[in-house]
């Protein structure tokens, strides 16, 4: 078995290999070549620094590496089901970590689905530790109900201001705190179709980002000010879904301790699965 840069293969070859390695995954998330190409672009994945494991010329595993300055991100690790338990995953991630160091990264992040014990054990063995839980929330299409509860009444006193891509990027750059890789400012810059909506609320201002596609509303993320985050969060989501009632919605990698989380549930979101975000440092 030998490891080579993923850039030696076409997106189509990498997509086919990736889908084969994940066929029995806890939550299979197959991709088309177009989606993998978008993924590479949106999340600053370096195919030169990513790795493919070959056995007699056939791809048996792969692992990708995102690079953003001093931060790196391990993603899309997979090994063919019949060829596991040969330390291929271990070698792939070790190769990737070496690449991260070579590219001057000092922190490496990743997410692993809750219940994926083999992957969690592998990453723990390689020095990663848990930092928080992230939720994948889904909301089927529906018009928000016109209720008379307190937050709904407050929401009706707010006026949404719709933001273009550049305005959304500017607000994203002003956020504080650690954001999941998929939700960082660099992703906002890379994804042209991310827009936003801002409100001024009696409990503090806030804004929501979103990407509208033909079938879905994606990349829904909320940033609020003030201590009573649920109030502006409710208003933001209420206005968003009044504007886009017919789109299925995905809010990805929302921290489980997010202060506005209750607003998501109040507006009809359900948790589909949970990821554990992990991190390790790279010693210079």
């Amino acid at each position: 078995m030998n490891l080579v840069p993923a850039s030696q293969f076409s997106i189509e070859e990498l997509t086919e290999a990736y889908n084969k390695t994940r066929v029995d995954y806890l939550v299979p998330m197959p991709m088309t070549s177009q989606r993998l190409a978008e993924y590479v672009h949106d999340y600053d994945v370096s195919l030169d620094a990513s790795a493919v494991a070959l056995d007699e010329g056939e791809i048996i595993g792969l692992c990708m590496l995102g690079l953003r300055g001093k931060d790196a991100w391990v993603t899309r690790l997979g090994v063919l089901p019949d060829l596991r338990k040969r330390h291929t995953g271990l070698q792939l991630v070790e190769y990737i970590l070496h690449q991260a160091a070579e590219h001057a990264a000092r922190q490496v992040y990743l997410e692993v689905i809750v219940g994926n014990t083999p992957a969690h054990n592998l990453f723990t063995r390689l020095g990663f530790h848990e930092i928080r839980k992230l939720l994948i929330l889904r909301r089927p299409p529906s018009r928000p109900a016109e209720t008379q509860d307190y937050f709904a009444a407050l929401s009706r006193t707010t006026t949404p201001v719709w933001l273009n891509h550049d305005q959304a990027v500017e607000l994203a750059a002003q956020r504080s705190g650690l954001h999941a890789w998929t939700n960082r400012t660099e992703t906002f810059r890379n994804v042209d179709h991310i827009h936003g909506m801002h409100i001024d609320h009696s409990y503090g201002a806030g804004w929501v980002s979103f990407e509208e596609t033909a079938f879905q509303l994606r990349r829904v993320m909320i940033t609020t000010e003030g201590e009573m985050a649920i109030a502006p969060a409710y208003s933001l989501l209420h206005h968003l879904h009044l504007q886009f009632p017919m789109l299925d919605t995905i809010a990805e990698n929302i921290p489980a301790d997010s202060p506005g989380l209750a607003a998501f549930y109040a507006l009809g979101y359900v948790a589909s699965f949970v990821r554990i975000e992990m991190m390790r440092s790279i010693q210079v």
Partner: protein
Amino acid sequence: MTSSGEALPIILIIEDNLNNARIMSRALDQFYTVHHAMDGATGLQMAAAVHPDLILLDLGLPDVDGQTVAARIKQDIALQDVPVVVVTAWPSETAGQMVAAYGCQGYIAKPIDTRLFQLQIAEYLPQ
């Protein structure tokens, strides 16, 4: 066609894994007319074209995921009464939540038991 000349009920399988689709199809094609789509967009087009009596839906599709496909089916006036049964390897609690949230009629766990599959399917078809 049945021996009395009636058309067989139509089942549409929306499943990207060809092996899984073949297993399901072989378990059903003696008693049903089975169509298969490999991705969500094709599945939606096919559903509109053949108007199935039942849709078997994988959640992990490569282009647009199963939840969104279910949502689009339920929004289509011509298809909203077609039973949608999710066939998935997702953990049962999560699968159940998605089925309930997206208005599907039920779910069957993968890997399917081919001895039981016909009985499981029949439960969702009009008698």
